[in-house]
Symmetry: C2
Subunit: 337 residues, 2 copies
């Protein structure tokens, strides 16, 4: 185990109907007025907005809306916006406490001074943003996709109600699964020190994501599977899988960020294209861990077999594995590079 500091003060309130408690959570933190950030009007159609409005109203908390984070009503963009809303909220929370341009915080020109308290109600499981300090934001002008994070940008409370995630489409569930898998395996394969305990925890999350994705594609109303998927997605990015590892990096995310920024593909769809290709290129650098992956995840022997099995599984659940499926051409490669 490498030296580490683990600190995660976010309170998770998990379960059916928990969004009704948002007003109480805010009141316990002395909040009198909130800026409600959301990605699409879907929350008004499906009743979530009304539930939140009522819960705040019961506690005498004022509400200012900040909706429509993206205006393009293509479903994939709407789903992305749902995830972006929380990242946007964190960036806004830090930005209001900084006198200059908020982008300064992303490029390291200034440290994050402090942040307004952030509270989240999840409608999509994938990013893990609900239980970490990070906010990933794209600058359209510079085409950069960068992140910030400080102890102040952890959400105070995040509400995870599996039922609120039920409307996620079959495709988007597959993209989310690819995103969670990427979060886990980037550390698992790239860490120069990777304690076996962390490999075991990682495999626990991966098995759960694979199993519950298949269950949910068969039956989107299975709340037990939805809940396990959601909690696995949260644990995949709350520090558990990398505390005690060192020397790890996120090369698949780095490559995919270029795809998202240039071609507006869903993040998870980009990842499922990048991951198998990256694994084929990388595996000889850490062959023991790739053989472990093949064995423990799929009961197979060689690194190549494990990679092929993951790629086949991506194909099975309907998330792309080739750039052509994202309408990206060979002539686009220089721009990506």
């Amino acid at each position: 185990m490498e030296n580490f500091t683990y600190f995660n003060p976010t309170q998770i309130d998990f379960g059916i109907g928990k969004e009704q408690l948002i007003g109480q959570h805010l009141a316990e933190h002395g909040i009198k007025k909130v800026l409600l950030c959301y990605g699409s009007e879907r929350i008004k159609r499906d009743g979530l907005f009304n539930t939140v409005h009522q819960s705040l109203s019961d506690q005498g908390i004022d509400l200012v809306e900040c909706g429509g984070i993206v205006s393009n009503p293509v479903i994939s963009k709407v789903r992305d916006a749902v995830a972006l809303a929380l990242d946007s909220a964190k960036a806004i929370a830090a930005g209001v406490r900084y006198e200059g341009d908020v982008w300064d915080l992303f490029i390291g020109k200034a440290p994050i001074p402090s942040a307004l308290p952030v509270f989240a109600i999840l409608t999509l499981a994938a990013t893990g943003s609900e239980m970490n300090a990070y906010a990933v934001v794209t600058n359209e002008d510079t085409k950069e996709k960068l992140f910030i994070g400080s102890p102040d940008t952890f959400p105070k409370v995040s509400i995870l109600n599996p039922a609120l995630m039920q409307g996620v489409s079959r495709d988007y569930l597959a993209y989310s699964a690819a995103d969670v898998i990427a979060h886990v395996i980037e550390v698992y394969f790239t860490a120069s020190t990777q304690p076996k305990l962390l490999s075991r925890l990682a495999e626990s999350l991966l098995h759960t994501v694979i199993e519950t994705t298949e269950t949910l594609q068969d039956d989107p109303t299975d709340h037990a599977a939805r809940g396990e998927f959601a909690w696995a997605a949260t644990l995949a990015q709350n520090g558990l899988t990398f505390s005690g590892a060192c020397g790890f990096s996120y090369p698949n995310h780095a490559i995919e960020h270029a795809l998202s920024a240039l071609f507006k593909v869903p993040h998870g769809a980009g990842l499922s294209v990048v991951i198998p290709a990256w694994m084929k290129w990388y595996h000889s650098r850490n062959s023991a861990q790739f053989e472990r992956f093949a064995q423990n995840m799929f009961g197979l022997s060689t690194a190549e077999q494990g990679i092929a099995a993951l790629e086949a599984w991506f194909n099975k659940i309907g998330t792309p594995t080739r750039l052509a499926q994202l309408q990206i051409k060979e002539s686009d490669l220089p721009a990506i590079v």
Copy 2:
């Protein structure tokens, strides 16, 4: 997944030499004066007291000692005292904010009003108290062993330095392993709802405890194994293994608390006697999970084989599996009951 609330604001600072930072952690929380609770004079012999004293002194923090939590210098009692010191500190922290007798808080006569901030430096891995709100305390008069916990009794910071745990004896390491295993399997076997994700995480911790205990009995200076053991022990009692489960209980701990209270046996040694006997009695109530345990932990088929394998492993590492090994006679059974 059942509804749950997960909240764990304790900051873990893990690694070699981290105890030197205790003064800085205290200063960051605005602490000017501390009550230092410890179990034995060992910390003065091995230098830890001096390190802490220096770190506090550098920050201008005053120190009041509260040592010698038990006076009997038998090694097993000294080790127990190391664990008890943190529980004592939490109980003291809550007690000073309550006007009546502190035992009122344990028997539910009064709620925990608030608590002084608690900071911990671990010298023994087993109880998990470093990353949860619980304090277990025995009342010698009533022979009761009860616990308290509130959001205020989470340690603010816990420092885990594997090197500080190196002096733990071979026997006591085995008892600690039994304690960690008990924490994990009590939920694993008794939960009426046990998501597969939690079973997987539990098995990850169990495999790690088994593997690292054997490594450490061969080489007590293996810091990597010591670190994995310590972190697994922490995760076994920080809420991870039961958040999302329901209907679970701690029958082995309940029975063992009677053994500890009546016969002053080390807690883990009592547990390794209770666990296999309890498993033999209980397994037919949850046979699928016991078969899963046999398969995933030991590659065996039946519940009975899995139980026998765990009992054999307890024997192998040198923690008792029979009451007679604890000098407890058949004539003592009525008192235990």
